[in-house]
Amino acid sequence: MNRLHHGLAPLVLVAAILAVWEITVRVLATPDYLLPAPSAVVIALIDNAPILFASAATTLGMALSALIIASLVALALALAVALSPWLESAVRPLAVVLQVTPIVAIAPLVNIWAGLDHPQRAVIGLAALVAFFPIFSGAITGLKAIDPDLERLFKLYGATRLQTLRRLRLPSALPFLLEGHKVAAGLAVIGAVVAEFVSGSGGSQGLAWRLLEAANRLQTAKMFAALLLLGLMGAAAHALFQALETWALRRWRGR
């Protein structure tokens, strides 16, 4: 009963907000371009369903590609750095500088490199850049987070560097890798949207483009519909990775 209550709590809150919103808009007769009623948003969503869902799929596809690229590059780099302390000292400051540089500031450059007729590549590149850091720093932290006694044991039994990496450091890093990917998945979606805004072209017709387009035409209800899809997409990605993390950790620990 208690769990049911807690599960229903957010639904109740959302329903209450929607109800107040709907009533207020109707009573005050707010113009649609300023604040459409929830019912108007639903109608806009249904009317524009094909184009909005297609755009959502485009954004999701770009975010996913970015996540995969970020994951591969971050893991490869983290492994290289883990094997060579010298390389780590070399890479760290560069990684930090790149991390603190706002993605918006890099976007025009990436646009040029990707080619103005390939805005999708620019979006994927920028989103990958954002998703890279949580995976990279998670992997670095994880590869170092080893039980010092286990490390001594590997040394005692004459383990090679590669054996230590494969049989000790990588498995030790798993929880950190999962956490890094979970954070990165959310950031990849955000990164894809921001990058699409910045690359400012209709060539990559993701949800961000639909938002801009609707805003320019004062189709506020359609904007809300696109936002709703975006929110649902982010929440679904987070839930998926959360479930994956829980499942994998249970297997890892055996309970």
Partner: protein
């Protein structure tokens, strides 16, 4: 011919000064030696020297250098949390390059020796503290070491588990007779387990007192109640108190 020896070794840690020494210890094959002393007296440092995990600042360490000749059991079970008991025990063999099949077969035998055959697939989180220590022991024994080093193996265990583990170690010792050096705070456990008990002074650790415990090994549990045993426990305790006061 001694199995291993520390000859007037000294260990200095940068910023912390001298941790150990000068300290000497000669180990005969098959003997059981207990190092007793207050925290920070360098007992564990002495053990790491014998394991080859650390080098002395001065003095000489003689030890059998072959892979698997020396095994260590740490205070915590130190198992890989993601691997089952059998895989944990097979690890030293696999690291030494033996194939997975052979390593696992030997590991099964080692698990059986510590009476944990049924727990072969259990992950460390599913084992009790005592069981995890026995898996750790099985892993140490799987290479058939000539020298077994135990770093406070009883510290994290309750009284009953501790006594059971002490018995287990004796039984396992009787099967293959490795030399054992173990570090402990627990005087009674030291006197029960060892043929020689060395009491060390607090930092830097030096030898303060040596007791020979002559009761034959392995020892029955009821020996703990005997007058001779109690007397030796008292003697070692008194020496320990003196060492700490000095």
């Amino acid at each position: 011919m001694p199995l291993a020896a520390l000859n007037a070794v000294e260990v200095d840690y940068p910023g912390r000064g001298r941790a150990l020494g000068p300290f000497s210890l000669t180990l005969e094959p098959g003997e059981i030696v207990a190092l007793v002393g207050p925290s920070g007296c360098g007992k564990s440092t002495a053990l790491r020297l014998l394991a080859g995990l650390e080098q002395p600042t001065s003095g000489r360490v003689e030890r059998a250098a072959g892979r698997g000749e020396t095994s260590v059991v740490f205070q915590a079970a130190t198992l890989m949390p993601w691997a089952g008991a059998l895989d944990n025990v097979a690890l030293p063999l696999e690291l030494a390059g033996s194939n997975r099949q052979a390593a696992r077969a030997k590991a099964e035998g080692a698990l059986a020796r510590v009476r944990l055959k049924g727990a072969r697939d259990a992950k460390p989180a599913q084992l009790s503290g005592g069981m995890a220590m026995r898996v750790s022991l099985a892993r140490a024994l799987v290479t058939e070491p000539r020298l077994l080093l135990l770093d406070e193996p009883f510290a994290a265990l309750d009284e009953i588990t501790r006594r059971a583990l002490a018995q287990d170690i004796h039984v396992l010792w009787a099967e293959s007779r490795p030399a054992i050096v173990f570090v402990t705070h627990n005087v009674e456990e030291a006197v029960f387990m060892a043929g020689r008990v060395l009491v060390m002074t607090p930092g830097p650790g030096r030898l303060a007192y040596e007791a020979r415990i002559d009761a034959p090994l392995p020892r029955p549990e009821h020996i703990r109640a005997s007058a001779r045993f109690r007397e030796q426990v008292e003697q070692v305790s008194a020496a320990l108190q003196q060492a700490m006061a000095a």
